[in-house]
Amino acid sequence: MSNGFLLFVGPMFYGGWYHFFYQYNPDAAVWGNIVWGHAVSKDLIEWLHLPLAMVADQWYDTNGVWTGSATLLSDGQVIMLYTGATNESVQVQNLAYPADLSDPLLVDWVKYPGNPVLVPPPGIDDRDFRDPTTAWYWPDGKWRIAIGSKVNKTGISLVYNTEDFKKYELIEGVLHAVPGTGMWECVDLYPVSLKEDNGLDTSFNGPGVKHVLKASLDDDKNDYYAIGTYSLESGNWTPDNSNLDVGIGLRYDYGKFYASKTFYDQNKQRRILWGWIGETDGESADIKKGWASVQSIPRTVVFDKKTGTNILQWPVAEIKSLRKSSKKFDKLEVGPGSVVTLEVEKATQMDITAEFEIDKEALKRIGESDVEYSCGTSGGSAQRGELGPFGLLLLADEGRCEQTPVYFYVAKGTDGQLKTFFCTDESRSSLANDVDKRIFGSTVPVIKGEKLSMRILVDHSIIESFAQGGRTCITSRVYPTKAIYGAAQLYVFNNATSASITASIQTWAMKSAYIRPYSSHQES
């Protein structure tokens, strides 16, 4: 990553390249002075930096060139809509397009002279109108976009239609609204197939399809999604389950993951999700480092056919190209209250898959609990139950003074049903005292017959964890002082009081991915 602060926007696949634009502060490792950086990749893994795509040089974006989305039209045009903060700090939407469509790198961009194309409508505050979505085609022959906002404490999504992306008409009503959720940022609406495993173009609708509506809640800096139906008749989106509506139900990720956005990768017919992962150390440290914030590894998104109530996120297959030496640990018996070292090559850069089975006798014996467990309010991996916690200790030093457990905790709820929790415990991740050290996670649905499984990507100060094939995900930032480079180790642990577990683990040391400036001498 180049120095400064980054937060990404406007992803797309064009001209044989994946394009990634990002909100960037070239002057400091904190938010401010926002302009658009640009990077390209052939495989979503190795990136090349291009010159800044857009800077804050017009009255309508002089206070910030913020989030935007790309729409690729069937005639080859590329439409970029983005939010600009004007010279009077009003949030407006602007149109930009590539200067030269025959340049696959899309280096130069032109701002439409008639900008802004959209200003806050009556009843919407000047500062509550941002992050236009990718457009989708509507049966009336026009395009629609959504923009998040709020009215008092109700988060809403406005919808506009347009024929030329220059003139817009506000559609009466809202796409959807949920009271108490506050400002909706980075709204995203996209179809998922109920039967197929491939992604769908943003304009797709019809039988066999559901629509995911997502919002980033300004209030708590988390990304929430809900699955529902987007009616071609009414133009409204309705959740399948109003108890799990946008902002009050499921999250993409239960750790540090925000302002995420999907795009349809027409190259490989996938829907890809990308998230912004901020720092959780102090800003003085960020200033010393000279940089702040990273992007998650891109994830594919598909509908979870087994539960029918979740989406599944999984690191893109291209990440496997970074795998080096592999090690297998088959059917390790880990008794209650024990820790087993896993000898691996490079514990700071790893791809890990693990499956766990709890001994059946312990499962039968377990009594009901009268207290509901929750990752966030628990004592983390140190709080022992009959059937958990158990999992892996990542970025641990030899004495295990520093360690970041990622674990399962199984308990019988007050209703007599077994519930599985998936948590990450940062409380002992570092001896430094100016970093966040939280415990977070969520329940994860486990279908009968499924083993408990997790996949983890470790990269020095970032851990991305996926349970049950990506049904529940947790991204964590940790800053160990001892468990670094060659001193970091990997362990499997079982801190349950009565159950034994059998763990089968496979690990890969990971190569580093390259992020370099693009040079014209390079082969495309």
């Binding site: 903060a85 000047d126 102090g282 003085s284």
Partner: protein, 169 residues
């Protein structure tokens, strides 16, 4: 004669009414912060508060954090000039760095821009970080801090600012 006296009274009443409304916003806002007295006292000391909305009040508070941070840096300079014990000297230097590079050059500008342009969560982050840096500086003296009142002031003001900014989210 009588009518002009009457007019004066009416005008007098209206002025009081207007003042009461904006003082109301200050009180209302400050009630939702962890330090009501500090909040009211700080806001009232700045003439901008009488016609500011909540974002404006937040900006007044951020300006006060800036002022106190500058004052802290001055005090640190003074202390460094008195040839202190090497350990104290090192800690003072470390604190100067936190206040200068982190609080004044990063947190404050970031928070102000965020408040101005309507992206309050970055302002909340800036204010929280300023509190953390002040606390971090104080802790580094291991109980023998020569600038406790300064650190305390920045920390308390930052927490009040953070609470006001939260109202914008």
């Amino acid at each position: 004669m009588r009518s002009s006296v009457f007019l004066l009274c009416v005008v007098g009443l209206s002025l009081t009414q207007i003042q009461f409304s904006s003082a109301d916003l200050v009180k209302q806002t400050c009630r939702q912060t962890p330090n009501y007295d500090l909040c009211v006292q700080t806001l009232r000391s700045d003439p901008r508060s009488s016609h500011a909305d909540v974002a404006g009040l937040a900006m007044v508070m951020v300006d006060m954090i800036k002022a106190k941070s500058i004052a802290t840096l001055h005090r640190i300079s003074e202390l460094l000039g008195t040839a202190p014990h090497p350990k104290t000297k090192a800690t003072l230097r470390r604190c100067a760095e936190l206040y200068d590079n982190a609080v004044l050059k990063a947190d404050i500008p970031s928070a102000m821009e965020a408040l101005k342009t309507g992206n309050p969560k970055f302002a909340e982050q800036g204010a929280n970080d300023a509190a953390n840096e002040a606390d971090s500086c104080e802790r580094a003296f291991s109980g023998a801090s020569p600038i406790t009142s300064f650190n305390r002031s920045v920390s308390d003001l930052s927490r009040v600012a953070s609470a006001i900014i939260r109202l914008l989210l």
